[in-house]
């Protein structure tokens, strides 16, 4: 295991506003990290800094390189899908394959053909003739055929239907990911990726508000479903968040001993979406 990304006081300002505000992160290899935040939280800016697509202040090393200065070298080992459907519309599928093969020393044409064989994408089709889902499939096939150490996916499934989204992540996990690689994903559809994540990073107003492994999250966060009579006792323990559904009260606790919660009701691990709402609420 080695450190893939490390930042110290990483900052990026637009005007007087911080898009990324003194971020300190350390990301190890072999992880799948979910970078979660509301719109305008600085996710994309942070990823752009990591990919050398924007200027910034502070220290940032990706694979030991400075993304601003060593961008060309970095791109040999880093792949990214910045947005859905950014493949050039004029391009034919075989041209895209030829191009990536010609420019990328770590690209495997055989792998790419295998991935494409599982889809309905014809090699002679132009990108503009493909559906949005097929463009995403093509892009993923190209990217997964590159033997990269870091893969960055910024909203890779935005606008795709549920079937494409499911197969997208299944392919990623089954055919690509291994201990040598690291994947960073941002998405609004958290519930669809939470089962594949190993790490969770929440970002709000440019600041990191949660940086934890999924295991740690499962150990320290609990959701309590409490009947009416235990509500007062539950509130005593200082929940992060409280909501009620169908007359049942739901509390979210951080770092509270599970033994204390058990007598008050039903305990379970919160899902990422609920955790997100709770943590963001706490920050505000």
């Amino acid at each position: 295991m080695s450190t893939i990304i490390s930042t110290q006081n990483l900052c990026k300002k637009f005007g007087s506003q911080y898009a990324v505000d003194h971020v300190n992160l350390s990301i190890e290899s072999g992880r799948i990290i979910g970078l979660i935040g509301p719109n305008g939280a600085g996710k994309t800016t942070l990823l752009k800094a990591i990919l050398g697509l924007t200027t910034f202040a502070g220290d940032l090393k990706v694979l030991g390189l400075d993304p601003r200065k060593d961008r060309d070298e970095l791109m040999e080992q880093v792949s990214f899908i910045a947005d859905v459907a950014v493949l050039p519309r004029w391009m034919r599928v075989w041209e895209a394959i030829d191009l990536v093969e010609g420019l990328h020393s770590r690209f495997s044409r055989d792998k790419c053909m295998q991935f494409l064989a599982k889809t309905k994408i014809g090699l002679d089709k132009k990108v503009k003739q493909l559906s949005k889902g097929m463009v995403a499939q093509l892009h993923l096939a190209l990217v997964m055929s590159i033997d990269a150490r870091l893969l960055v996916l910024d909203e890779p499934t935005l606008g795709l239907d549920i079937i494409y989204r499911k197969t997208f992540y299944t392919n990623l996990l089954n055919d690509y990911f291994d201990e040598e690689r690291t994947i960073i994903i941002t998405t609004h559809q958290v519930e669809e990726i939470e089962h594949i994540l190993s790490d969770l990073i929440f970002i709000q107003d440019g600041k990191i508000v949660l940086d934890s492994t999924m295991e740690e999250v499962q150990k320290s966060y609990f959701e309590l479903m409490a009947p009416e009579e235990s509500v007062a006792a539950a509130r005593e323990l200082g929940p992060l968040n409280e909501s009620s559904i169908f007359g049942k009260h739901i509390f979210l606790f951080k770092g509270v001993d599970a033994g204390k919660l058990e007598p008050l009701g039903e305990i379970r691990t919160p899902n990422v979406a609920d955790l997100f709402v709770a943590v963001m609420g706490e920050e505000q």
Partner: protein
């Protein structure tokens, strides 16, 4: 990162330029060829229809044959070069729009993020676009020009033959098509270097313009020229050379062979400016010879042009690096 690898990447990037612009790079000269040949065929139809038993054509051939062999060869060679003027005019328009879109279109449709995800430096990207404009487009246009002229010579030869003359001894024998084609290509390639300041300006505009790059390419020199002319007018009541004047003079000095330059007695056609409708006096000898082309490429003006081009190209690179930021 060794040089062979970079050269290979450059080749791949230039192939991409061709793929993206097949319409402009290949179809346009193909259409030009078709237009030229159909005009010739239309002429042929008119001749057959109205020229009574080919009398006029026969007379023209007799007149042509009465000239010395050297003069005949000269005239054929010159007309082969003259047709290139039509091609060079269209080619300039193609290059103009190609360069204006080259660093703009992918910013507009966001596919720049795909290009930036590949390990190809911004330097190589800009080089691939500049070299496509300098070499790929001229060579393709030139190949179509040659093909067109060979077909035209074939048709012309048959016409001469039908007028009971031997096309080989009368027309083709004394002509020097290889020399004509060589000079045209040399002129176009020399033109590519000569036009570096203009091409670099277009790349710079393309790398930064937020919209309608054509406006941003044309307006600054026009506004500057109007200002210059106005200030000059206020000062001396006399029109001085302004940016537009310098630019049009520059273009008129191009080593590409322009139709207006070719006069039968082969002297320097100083009347290019007249044919472009601009009050321009030519500084260079425009007779289509290699020496004259080289004369321009190794001139003080060229050195100045290269410095201007370098400044524009560095600015374009600077903007391209930051194009995905924001």
């Amino acid at each position: 990162m060794n040089i062979t690898w970079s050269v290979n990447k450059l080749k791949v990037l230039m192939r991409r330029e061709y793929w993206e612009n097949r319409g402009a790079f290949r179809n346009t000269p193909a259409i030009l060829s078709l237009i030229t040949i159909s005009f010739m065929l239309m002429g042929l139809v008119i001749k057959i229809r109205f020229d009574n038993e080919g009398y006029t054509f026969r007379e023209a051939m007799r007149l042509f044959a009465s000239q010395s062999e050297a003069m005949r060869g000269y005239e054929v060679t010159q007309s082969l070069m003259a047709l290139s003027g039509f091609f060079v005019f269209v080619m300039s328009i193609v290059i103009f729009f190609y360069l204006l879109g080259s660093l703009y279109d992918d910013r507009k449709d966001k596919s720049i993020l795909f290009w930036k995800s590949l390990p190809a430096s911004d330097e190589l990207t800009i080089a691939s676009k500049l070299f496509s404009a300098m070499f790929v487009i001229p060579v393709i246009f030139w190949l179509f020009l040659i093909a067109t002229e060979i077909i035209m010579m074939g048709i012309g030869g048959m016409m001469v033959w039908s007028a009971d003359q031997n096309p080989w001894t009368l027309v083709f024998g004394p002509a020097e098509p290889l020399k004509a084609w060589g000079l045209v290509l040399a002129g176009w390639l020399a033109n590519s270097f000569w036009m570096l300041p203009v091409y670099s300006w277009l790349l710079l505009v393309s790398s930064k313009a937020p919209r309608v790059p054509m406006l941003f390419a044309i307006l600054p020199p026009v506004i500057l020229s109007v200002l210059q002319a106005w200030i000059g007018f206020l000062r001396t009541f006399q029109l001085q050379d302004n940016v537009l004047g310098v630019t049009s003079k520059w273009i008129a000095n191009s080593p590409a062979i322009l139709a207006g330059q070719i006069t039968p007695d082969g002297d320097q056609g100083g009347n290019v400016s007249v044919s472009l409708g601009m009050p321009v006096t030519s500084t260079f000898d425009h007779a289509p010879t290699l020496a004259n082309m080289l004369d321009r490429l190794f001139s003080q003006q060229m050195l100045f042009g290269l410095i201007v081009a370098a400044v524009f190209l560095f600015a374009a690179l600077w903007f391209r690096r930051r194009a995905s930021d924001g």
